[in-house]
Chain length 302, copies 2
């Protein structure tokens, strides 16, 4: 299946005219997931024509402002537009109180129900539906911070219409065959599943890792991931600053991608001191060829 | 003296691509005052080249998000840029807690001191320095909401250098003469102040009134104001909606300007249902000729 990542913001804490703060929309298994929500995210959603009322799950990595200051504004807008559908917000302890105190002071009785799911541990399934599992990832930052791993579930096997006719398979048996079972006919003949079906599209995976210092404990959680977003606030020339602020360099991000055997890497969360992103690409590709840079409005498809 | 109002946002609750949420910068008596701070205000400040560290007084009218959701982001940026100067935030009860809880969760120890001045009553002097007095104004909205009246103080009288020489006025006497006193020479001759000085520039005034229903109790507080900003969320065709939501129409705003004998009127806080602002201008000018519309980046000078 296709998994898409739409970048709404590639910048870090200090906002710039050319870069928004962190936010991404993940399209996966017929759902839209919003990951992080820096100031101005709702305008970015509008600019990129994302239907905000179709977002039912929001994931907030941590409580530094550039990752969530746009959340309460987005929720207000959902309310003002008459949203009815429940919305679940997965995020760190403290987020519920921050949101609720603002609506309380505004005298707003929201038109929809918010459910807060506190993320307290890495490696836990924090969301699951028929098509996707989302797991929390360990990151190393100045305050509690979690990444998110989106894993599509294996789809049903694709029935081969021609073969179903040929073997005269009754309709009632199709469901179990698409689930991978063999078929035994009334006269006892066994028809192996592989004769009737083709492999489903390979399930894809995506890992969002921001903000974090270089952190090898993350690797086992994201092994073989199809697409890895890893923050790269700095270049190696600012290694000391990266260390001090618990951020990564482009080389750090690439090293994690390499060691995790990721297929593709997106770099983002760039410090606004860098006027263009060429240095990030160069530095990362020295270590990991399949590296790209996040950019507002860009879509990465797995 | 010149008083300038820079419009950062002309829109209302639902953000649009073309309109930011309410925020204005008032330049008055060598100070920059920020009034309201909707989401995205810090980017608007940057776009309009306002030096954010020169803002020392912030005024928040009420706790609906489109008037303050950008505040904590702006404060974060001031902190990240190493601000040292104290910042005073004048606003409704509840604002301090909203701001503080977010910095607490972010683990931020601000580089500067924030002082919260809770505005609880209309008609009170909430800020005063050598050149300006700011008074709270009564507005009628769904939650506690105050406008702000900026009044320049009368400046010193302008000494006429030619006359000072002519009458042989000693240097020590100049201060009291500029303050309006007459001068008596050593031989007892009285020289009237008017012979030695000219009138100082007329002190100017500005009133910010958003959000509010049509509210005649506001009028005595803003009589003769040089420049009045009054919200006009709707046109008369949406009178019922204006009433229900405690907002004003363009005609309401113009009527207040007329009855208060204001010199000029700015309309703003437009609902995003109106694609252009011509209707607001027409409706207001039927009642009050000197009406204009707020627009992002526009500067009104008194």
């Amino acid at each position: 299946m296709a998994l898409e990542v739409l970048i709404l913001g590639s910048g870090s804490a200090l906002p710039a005219l050319s870069a928004n703060q962190t936010s991404q929309v993940i399209s996966c298994g017929n759902q839209l997931f919003l990951v992080d929500c820096g100031e101005g995210t709702q305008v970015q959603l509008r600019k990129n024509k994302v239907k905000i009322q179709n977002i039912n799950q929001v994931f907030i990595s941590h409580l530094h402002g550039d990752h969530f200051f746009g959340l309460v504004g987005l929720l207000s807008t959902m309310h003002l537009l008459g949203r009815r559908a429940e919305l679940t917000i997965h995020g760190p302890k403290g987020l519920a109180e921050i949101v609720e105190i603002q609506f309380r002071n505004a005298g707003s009785h929201l038109s929809f129900q918010m459910i807060f799911n506190t993320v307290e541990k890495a490696g836990e399934v924090i969301y699951e539906d028929a098509k996707v599992v989302v797991t929390s990832l360990p990151l190393k930052h100045r305050i509690p911070c979690f990444g998110f791993h989106f894993q599509e579930k294996k789809g049903l096997r694709k029935l081969d219409g021609q073969k179903l006719l040929e073997y005269n398979i009754p309709v009632y048996a199709r469901k179990s065959i698409s689930e991978g079972e063999d078929f035994r006919s009334e006269d006892g003949v066994l028809i192996k599943n592989a004769q009737l079906t083709n492999d489903p599209p390979k399930p894809t995976s995506y890992a969002f890792c921001s903000d974090t210092a270089y952190y090898e404990k993350l690797i086992p959680f994201i092994e073989e991931v199809d697409l890895l977003y890893h923050e790269a606030t700095f270049l190696e020339s600012e290694r000391e600053r990266a260390k001090k602020t618990f951020h990564s360099t482009a080389k750090d991000a690439a090293t994690i991608a390499l060691k995790a055997n990721a297929k593709h890497l997106i770099l983002g969360h760039f410090s606004n001191r860098y006027k263009n992103k060429d240095g990030f690409l160069q530095e990362a590709r020295m270590v990991f060829k399949q590296a790209n840079v996040a950019e507002e409005g860009k879509v990465f498809t797995v």
